[in-house]
Symmetry: C2
Subunit: 139 residues, 2 copies
DNA sequence: GCCACAACTGCAACTAAGTTGCAAATGATT
DNA sequence: AATCATTTGCAACTTAGTTGCAGTTGTGGC
């Protein structure tokens, strides 16, 4: 695992530092998406707020993670799949936000269905967010 | 028009005040969605920031407007169609965010296509946001 | 039209979120 | 181990959003 994390960073021409390793590890451990505040909590105030911001920004730049907009105005971040490269995300899966545990989950195998736009509109990116109750909260 | 605005407010059990009239008028005039900052700008500092926040909140509560999440972490607000009632939105159309003019447009006639979720997931709400170039910016 | 009461607004003060510049510390390369 | 580029933490800042309270405005009854 340790080796795996270093490898991802090196592959993306990022120097291997404590904060980057730790934050990347968090993403690999969590099966969902993380908000900035989640990361600050889970790292246990080990890193400065600013460092977290900058680390997330560099991960975004390199295409390691992508953002998910949510209706409550808190951006979430999640790992990209392998075929994302610098600045160019191929991120056509649906995101699920649970109303109970408020986890954000990438439904990697649910692709966004095509829509027909009115004439004159040209699309470059599609986002789909589904709210509801997730698998673990169902009962 | 003036009468129309008062009517909407009364129908929703809101007292008719200067700020509410003005902000509702802005929504009726704009064919797209507005961010909080747009409203502050367009009202020309006539109202306190707090008043704008509270007005938007009460419009949300009454189901006059709905929110649209965007990837740049700025929530936009747009008028609901007639069949939205208190707290219960039937808001199944696609939203388009232009990368050039950064307007957010409700594509009222483009409905969100159904998706099949993995077993265990129960959906209550769907959101779809398309980024690209809008009709007016095309050339 | 006037009065009383509820609702709304503006102010001040606050918390939370995000940014920037710079000096010190750390990582990569030789 | 030395050097240089990169990264980090701090401080200070801007922007966004919230809360309590006193004063103002709108509503409905008379």
């Amino acid at each position: 695992m340790e080796f795996f994390i270093d490898d991802i960073l090196k592959k993306n021409q990022l120097s291997v530092t404590g904060s980057r390793k730790k934050i990347l590890e968090l993403f690999l451990q969590s099966n969902g998406a993380l908000a900035h505040s989640d990361i600050e909590k889970k790292t246990g105030e080990k890193f400065d707020r600013v460092t977290v911001y900058r680390t997330l920004q560099s991960f975004l730049d390199k295409g390691i993670i992508h953002t998910i907009p949510t209706s409550d105005n808190s951006i979430r971040y999640a790992l990209c799949k392998d075929d994302c490269s610098k600045g160019h995300h191929h991120d056509n899966h649906v995101h699920f936000v649970c109303n109970k545990c408020s986890n954000t989950i990438c439904l990697d195998h649910v692709t966004i269905p095509p829509v027909k736009l009115p004439t004159g509109f040209k699309a470059t990116e599609f986002q789909m967010i589904v709210n509801g109750i997730c698998k673990s909260c169902q009962n």
